[in-house]
């Protein structure tokens, strides 16, 4: 199956739109536009009919694999089921068709939702306040680190120019610290996958602005010395940033605020069931402790009990400013809000309970067939790698991942975290049944046998898809990044 480009379906004069007849007097358009900026060549947009558009994008959708298609154990990404009610609620006219600048008096519903969601997320993380402005996890990191920067600078402390990041961190952590003008100090994890306290002690000092930590970490492990870690950094005068991408493991069991962390970002598109959209939109709210509230982005949503009304507070002299136009990915916030109301406190804890149960169950079954570098209780995810025997047959993680596609599954996250060679990071989430997990194990067990007996099956995988493995290196050498009628001769 190959789908033509929408541009290739074009025929001059065909259209898929209709507009009401123009009902106002007109003059020549050239009188209303500056002549020197008049467009000379039309943009090559497709001329197609409505049914062309619908079929084209329907067929494209059929060339995709989503959570609704099947099991999607992509580690660190929390690909849980996205309840349908979420979609309906975000499309309610009062939300989807309301303007960000309409008067506050006309926006009380949206503002209440933002205010309440702030409170719920604060309670879940043990923080004082949460801003919904950041558009994704990485954007939340940027916001959070800037809050920390503002805090130090406001205290006249300009010598803190370093951010400590463990080597197991997600790439966005060091990239964020760099965008905020910090030098990055990478510290090695110990052989058990945890932050090495001695290493941390060595580097924490009066130039430490912050430590960025993911917990449970990217190996799926809860940092056993989390309180000691917090103490070391705080004693050095630094602040603690919590990458909350993995909150799905601990809701209702523990709170980053109670562990001593000062700032956290959430990924609503992971933990709180908002769909990932093939790459976004997400939402990365940031929670802070009380002493950091003055630095939150503008505006915050506040409630006046006198006027019995929500209002936007823009009078925030210490605020880091704005990180995004308007108030964030509001439509995504509606979906997360819906999810939290659906589950309630008990349901959220259950979600974490079963996310962790599913991960430990898979781990228990799969460790008999794959190499398990860290054999201890895990949280929401864990890592396996090919065994020595498989490696001897020339089998890499890539081959196993691609073979899983032939068995109808989305592969796990591969080659991350970087500190485990040939990592396969498996995160089942709580919304998968035992049957699904068993089917997945069966597939992986079969693949482990194929790896030894018929390794070519893995090397050739996937064979069930319409395209096979791509040559990424040559694509990057001669990049073709847009359609042109001349390139696509057919």
């Amino acid at each position: 199956m190959k789908e033509k480009m929408i541009f290739e379906l074009s025929a001059p004069g065909r259209k898929a739109y209709s507009l009401p007849a123009l009902d106002v007097p007109t003059v020549a358009i050239d009188e209303l536009l500056p002549l020197d900026l008049k467009r000379e060549t039309e943009p090559e947009l497709p001329e197609v009919s409505e049914v062309d558009v619908v079929r084209h994008f329907t067929r494209l959708s059929q060339m995709n694999y989503g959570v609704d298609t099947g099991f999607y154990p992509l580690g660190s990404c929390t690909m849980k089921y996205n309840p349908k009610i979420n979609e309906d609620m975000s499309r309610l006219p009062g939300f989807a068709l309301s303007h960000p600048y309409q008067a506050e008096g006309l926006s009380q519903g949206a503002m209440k939702l933002m205010y309440d969601l702030d409170q719920y997320l604060s309670e879940i993380a043990g923080m004082q306040r949460v801003t919904l402005q950041p558009a994704a996890g990485a954007h939340g990191e940027l916001t959070g680190i800037l809050i920390i920067k503002a805090y130090h600078e406001h205290r006249g402390d300009f010598k803190r120019n370093k951010v400590i990041v463990p080597d197991s961190a997600h790439g966005t952590n060091p990239a964020t610290a760099n965008m905020c003008g910090y030098e990055i100090i990478e510290i090695k994890s110990n052989e058990r996958g945890f932050v090495d306290l001695e290493e941390l002690k060595k580097v924490a000092g009066e130039d430490t602005a912050a430590l960025m930590l993911t917990n449970p970490n990217t190996l799926g492990l809860f940092e056993e010395d989390i309180v000691k870690i917090a103490d070391i950094v705080h004693e050095a005068g630094g602040l603690l940033y919590y990458d909350g991408a993995n909150m799905n493991a601990i809701m209702g069991y523990a709170r980053p605020g109670d562990m001593g962390f000062d700032v956290i970002h959430f990924n609503l598109h992971k933990t709180f069931s908002t769909p990932h959209g093939g790459g976004g939109p997400g939402s990365g709210p940031v929670g802070v402790k009380d002493y950091l509230v003055p630095y939150l982005p503008k505006p915050t949503v506040e409630y006046s009990s006198e006027q019995e009304q929500y209002y936007f507070d823009n009078e925030r002299p210490h605020s880091i400013g704005k990180v995004k136009a308007f108030y964030g990915n509001f439509g995504v916030a509606v979906k997360a809000f819906t999810y939290i109301l659906a589950l309630g406190g008990k349901g959220l804890k259950e979600a974490s309970e079963f996310a962790v149960l599913n991960a430990n169950y898979l781990k228990a079954v799969l460790k008999e067939h794959y190499y398990l570098p860290l054999d201890q209780v895990c949280k929401h995810e864990f890592i396996i790698t090919p065994t020595k025997e498989m490696k001897a047959k020339g089998i890499h993680t890539m081959d196993i991942a691609k073979r899983l596609i032939d068995y109808g599954f989305h592969p796990p996250t591969i080659y991350f975290p970087l500190i485990v060679e040939e990592a396969m990071m498996i995160e089942p989430t709580e919304t998968e049944s035992k049957e699904t997990l068993d089917d997945f194990c069966q597939a992986l067990i079969k693949i482990s046998e194929e790896a030894i007996n018929t390794p070519e099956l893995l090397h050739d995988a996937p064979i069930s898809t319409h395209v096979s493995r791509f040559d990424e290196a040559s694509a990057a050498r001669k990049p073709v990044l847009r359609w042109k009628s001349t390139y696509f001769g057919d």
């Binding site: 467009r39 309670e123 558009a135 060091p174 939109p281 359609w483």
Partner: protein, 447 residues
């Protein structure tokens, strides 16, 4: 309501396979001093019927543009959205997928993004575009970072006619990296080119302009580009994609980086987000571009298909040396824009833009007839927005309008203290002559 499918007996079987008797044992690694002793202070979960009722009630406390006639724009635009957009966006193979890391099972998302990149290149006249940014404001800020890397300069000129919130976002990003932004003043609702000329010194990395600008005015872009080029300074343009069907492609007149807000292209106003940032540039700057980029690749059998490419710029490979920290973007909004642009096509994008111009122009002439109201920059050409100057306070005008079911324009005094008693109005193709005439009558106090 919960979405956990396990039965009690399945749970027991799973615990037995792990060799434990209760899930509590799976949390033994959380040290007791941080383990939460009580339940979260939330509330019991809701069934779907109650949930729908509860949230619908909250939504009803919000006004929306189907029950009011709105003349608000200022960065969030009400254009008509054909029904097919939502029907296609709700194909859950699209919206429940992650970033397309596995190209063999993600050709749908990848091809759609490739088509989006093509459409953005066509509209902007640039060589390359990425898969999307968070919104117009962050795309603008990232473009400045690109220019800083390219020119190794630290000072940038940003027009005061750029959306105030975009400038604030740029300021935040600039502070983060220690860059300096200087504002170019405006004259007659347009960037003051005389001042610009004076400010263009050799240490300036780029000039940043919005067109049409925040006041709806069309900037003398060619002039600005010439001034910048004379000084060997890069030009970053923030463009409304809707007008690019009629205006010369920025790439053709020497702009270096084009960014913008794609919300007008089929994305609901949704109280300010999620929207769609886009960024496009010349081939030679491609390795400084932030974000995902989709390219063509050959598979082992010689088939052509799509993959994420040039990843060596990105955070998961380059970590602190990456061109940006962006990871997730606004892919589904880019899909919406691609569907919308396919629906409009070559003629549609022009027709919508023309209707906006005619209707806004009509509204201008009608409001100009009201005593005590004048068009603020009468000689400035404009697109779908314009500024009026009033004797009466904007607040009192808007209150009268609201009583008649009309949401008036933006009080510019909120963003520009010198523009007290100035209102920014927006008229798109979604407004009718009847509605514009009603605006006038209510404004005059006739209804």
């Amino acid at each position: 309501m919960n979405f956990v499918p396990h039965t009690q007996s399945e749970k027991r079987e799973m615990l037995a396979s792990i060799g434990i008797s209760s899930t509590d044992e799976l949390f033994r690694d959380i040290s007791p001093e941080v383990k939460l002793a009580e339940e979260l202070k939330l509330f019991p979960g809701l069934d779907e019927m109650s949930l729908r009722k509860e949230i619908t009630m909250i939504s009803q406390e919000n006004a929306h543009v189907d029950e009011y006639v709105s003349f608000l724009g200022a960065g969030a635009y009400e254009h008509f959205r054909p029904a097919l957009i939502d029907h296609l966006l709700l194909r859950s193979e699209f919206y429940t997928a992650y970033t397309p890391y596995q190209p063999e099972i993600s050709q749908g998302t990848l091809q759609a993004i490739f088509e989006f990149q093509t459409a953005v290149c066509e509209l902007t006249g640039m060589d390359v575009a990425n898969a999307s940014m968070y919104d117009g404001a962050t795309a603008l800020a990232e473009a400045i970072i690109m220019a800083a890397g390219q020119t190794r300069k630290n000072k940038f000129l940003i027009s005061s006619t750029i959306h105030p919130e975009y400038r604030e976002v740029a300021k935040t990003y600039a502070w983060a990296r220690g860059m300096e932004l200087l504002e170019i003043p405006y004259q007659q609702g347009l960037t003051d080119t005389k001042e610009l000329e004076k400010m263009l010194t050799t240490d300036i990395g780029a000039v940043v302009i919005q067109n049409p600008n925040f006041f709806g005015g069309i900037e003398s872009l060619k002039n600005i580009v010439e001034l910048a080029q004379k000084n060997k300074t890069m030009v970053i343009l923030c463009a409304d994609p809707m007008l690019l069907g009629l205006l010369e492609a920025p790439g053709k007149i020497g702009v270096d980086i084009v960014v913008g807000e794609g919300q007008p292209l089929g994305i609901p106003i949704s109280f300010g987000g999620p929207y769609l940032g886009f960024i496009a540039t010349k081939e030679k700057f491609i390795r400084r571009m932030p974000g995902r980029i989709v390219g063509i690749a050959q598979d082992r059998k010689g088939n052509e298909g799509f993959i994420l490419t040039l990843q060596a710029r990105e955070q998961h490979i380059r970590r602190e040396k990456a061109s940006s920290n962006i990871c997730s973007n606004q892919a589904l909004c880019a899909l919406a824009a691609t569907i919308y642009l396919s629906t409009l096509g070559k003629s549609g994008i022009k027709e919508v833009a023309e209707q906006c111009i005619y209707k806004a122009h009509y509204a201008k002439s009608v409001l100009n007839d009201i005593p005590g109201v004048e068009i603020a920059y009468p000689n400035t050409k404009s697109f779908k927005e314009f500024v009026v100057k009033t004797e009466e306070s904007i607040e009192s005008i808007n209150k009268r309008l609201l009583d008649a079911g009309i949401i008036g324009g933006l009080d510019l005094g909120e963003f520009y203290p010198e523009l007290k008693n100035h209102m920014l109005l927006c008229v798109t193709e979604a407004r009718s002559k009847i509605e514009i005439d009603l605006l006038k009558r209510v404004w005059e106090g006739e209804e």
